[in-house]
């Protein structure tokens, strides 16, 4: 099976399975009738968005999606919080928000165990919970929370692996820059990428792995990648766990004059998009669909309000992006036309 076939296969299948092993339902199946919409509007409900980390395009698109859809549903977003990967802060945020007792909380847990108690409180207070990507430990779909919408991070990991293989014609030495923290989303991508390379591409050798801790992920990735290129003179590619570290890898490659280095990553940030458009280091990436994801989550929250029973696990398939489909991909991901910066860089 060639990378292209593999990628093609990916497009309309979701590899992740739900926290309870549920098989995913496609986001396209989540819809609200006009009556339902009207009914929700009538409720004058309130919602809060509790993020794990707000500092990247992904979160912003996610929030945009939510806000757009909530507005359409006549739901007021009363608070948006950013825990900066810190579970204690996220718990505080949830508690604080509970003071306004909102009807809906859409959230992504920094840490399934640490935050469980706080979400539990909210659930018991009757708040409709919709999760992104991951759910707190011991939560039961339908009773404790409405549903979880996943971006199929595993699938994206796989995609980025195939794209790497494609760019390397199936052979070479590569390095991995991963997130040195046990965070569900990033861990899935890492596992997927590694597994895919090891199983499908015997001629691709993973010669270096380096974790990065932040908060300056770009700088950390820069240092890590530089060291990889120094330590393994003929390294051909480096995979970065998301676009922010990827920018660090790009800087390192530039500085070390490795114009031939292949970089693949996950998430369609503007910078990596530009780099790709220029035919630069980024040969491909697995994109999530944060905007759609947000929209879907908002709709599911609506399900919750209506008491309409929702599928426990909704997933959006991974979106492999290469230069050819970059502009369309951007449209798909952000549901706006790609900015001039990218379009101009295409040629």
């Amino acid at each position: 099976q060639s990378p292209d076939e593999a990628l093609a296969a990916l497009a309309n299948q979701t590899l992740s399975t739900g926290p309870g092993g549920e098989s995913p339902v496609s986001a396209s199946e989540i819809t609200l009738t006009d009556e339902e919409l009207a009914e929700i509007k009538a409720m004058g409900a309130t919602a809060a968005i509790v993020m794990h980390y707000g500092g990247d395009d992904w979160s912003q698109a996610q929030i945009n999606g939510l806000q757009t859809q909530f507005e359409a549903m006549g739901i007021e977003v009363i608070a948006t919080t950013d825990a900066g990967f810190n579970s204690a802060k996220q718990v505080s945020d949830i508690e604080t928000i509970m003071a306004q007792n909102p009807d809906i909380i859409v959230s992504i847990p920094t840490d399934p165990t640490a935050t469980a108690a706080a979400y539990r409180q909210a659930a018991e207070a009757g708040v409709k919970l919709v999760f992104m990507d991951n759910v707190p430990a011991g939560f039961v779909a339908g009773t404790d929370y409405v549903s979880v919408v996943s971006a199929d991070n595993y699938g994206n990991g796989v995609a980025s692996a195939h794209l790497m293989a494609k760019a390397l014609n199936g052979e070479g030495q590569i390095g991995i820059v991963f997130h040195a923290a046990d965070f569900f989303v990033t861990r899935q991508r890492y596992d997927a990428f590694k597994a895919t390379i090891e199983q499908n591409y015997p001629n691709i050798e993973i010669v270096a792995e380096q974790g990065i801790g932040g908060p300056d992920f770009t700088g950390d990735a820069d240092r890590a990648a530089s060291a990889m290129m120094v330590g393994n003179a003929d390294i051909d590619g480096i995979w970065a766990v998301w676009d922010v570290p990827a920018e660090g890898v790009i800087a390192a490659a530039r500085a070390n004059g490795r114009d031939d280095l292949v970089i693949t990553t996950i998430d369609l940030g503007e910078n990596v998009a530009i780099e790709m458009a220029r035919g630069g280091f980024i040969k491909g990436l697995g994109a999530q669909r944060p905007f759609d994801q947000g929209v879907t989550e908002a709709k599911l929250a609506g399900f919750g309000l209506l008491g309409k029973d929702a599928p426990p696990y909704v997933a959006l398939p991974a979106l492999p992006v290469e230069k050819d489909n970059l502009l369309d991909a951007w449209q798909t991901v952000y549901s706006t036309e790609a900015p001039a910066t990218i379009r101009d860089s295409m040629n």
Partner: protein
């Protein structure tokens, strides 16, 4: 530093009033900030008893660490490792609870603090490394150790009593966290104001030579202060673990700045010789109130950051004027 405070001995009543008024304005500042939110956020449930308790809960760890940090700064030293140590303690205590139950957990948490404290103290008082550097290095070491022994994973605390004691439960309507904060606060206040030890801490921070000339064993005092700080940090870590029923290396990350901010906000001098535990706790609460209020206001995170900075400056602009060393 403090040599530079230049105020008249027989000063006019007015001048005196102005001075003390300014020293105590952190309290006024706190009241103002609180009142501001109470009014603007009335309908948003800011004053809801539960929200007030939330603020207490969310501030408790910072406040607890701030108490010890008051001693540290008063003695002319600094401790940047508190946040990381709290994280480490949360991990050790959680692992120990899983292994040997409550007593093991408590022992492990405290031992973590004692060990770290002794290392920091030894390096600073024997090898004469500035605490800024020792504790900065310790910050990395503690965080690394926590990540390492936990494999960066969260260690769940399944024991039921542990969270009840540490930060989880309530006693009647009152969260245990609040009690921890009060108890440690009172102890800290008495130690600094009313005990020989506290007096010697202030003396060491005010003029280390004079302290030595007066027969005070300055390095012993500093050692103690540093150990106390580390142990308190580990208690904070245990409270985190209890509150979140989890031990994790990221818990407490970055707290050192909030803690020192709270203490300085409270009117303790960064240059030593002068400290107030009550002020520190008020400072911590003030930061807590601000964070809470800004979220309730529905500001975006970026706006929250800006507003917090602005409010702090406003509050201090009054409170610190005139009283700051030069």
């Amino acid at each position: 530093m403090s040599d530079t405070v230049a105020v008249a001995a027989r000063e006019a009543p007015l001048a005196y009033f102005k001075r003390t008024w300014r020293q105590n304005i952190i309290y006024i500042g706190f009241v103002v900030v609180f009142a501001f939110f109470a009014i603007t956020l009335y309908d948003k449930g800011f004053l809801a008893p539960n929200n007030i308790l939330n603020i207490a809960r969310q501030t408790a760890m910072i406040a607890v660490m701030a108490v010890a940090m008051t001693l540290v700064l008063s003695s002319g030293e600094i401790d940047l490792s508190v946040g990381a140590v709290a994280g480490l303690a949360s991990v050790t205590t959680a692992m120990a609870v899983a292994w040997g139950g409550l007593p093991a957990g408590i022992a492990a948490g405290i031992m973590t603090g004692i060990t770290v404290g002794l290392i920091n103290g030894f390096l600073s008082t024997r090898l004469m490394i500035p605490t800024f550097l020792t504790t900065l290095a310790m910050m990395g070491i503690a965080k690394g150790t926590a990540m390492w022994i936990s494999g960066t994973a969260a260690i769940p605390v399944l024991d039921r009593t542990y969270p009840a004691i540490f930060g989880g439960g309530n006693i009647g309507p009152i969260p245990t966290l609040l009690l921890w904060m009060l108890v440690i606060g009172v102890i800290g206040h008495v130690v600094l104001r009313r005990t020989k030890f506290g007096r010697q801490v202030l003396a060491v921070g005010g003029n280390v030579v004079a302290a030595r000339y007066s027969g005070i064993n300055t390095s012993r005092i500093k050692l103690w202060v540093i150990v106390i700080s580390a142990v308190t940090a580990s208690i904070a870590g245990m409270l985190y673990a209890g509150r979140l029923q989890t031990g994790r290396f990221q818990l407490g990350e970055g707290d050192e700045l909030s803690v020192i901010a709270a203490v300085v906000l409270g009117g303790t001098s960064l240059f030593g010789g002068k400290g107030t535990v009550v002020g520190s706790i008020i400072g911590a609460l003030m930061i807590g109130v601000i964070n809470n209020g800004l979220i309730l206001m529905g500001l975006e995170y970026s706006q929250q950051l800006i507003a917090r900075g602005g409010i702090i400056i406003l509050a201090v602009a009054l409170s610190q004027a005139g009283t700051r060393p030069a």
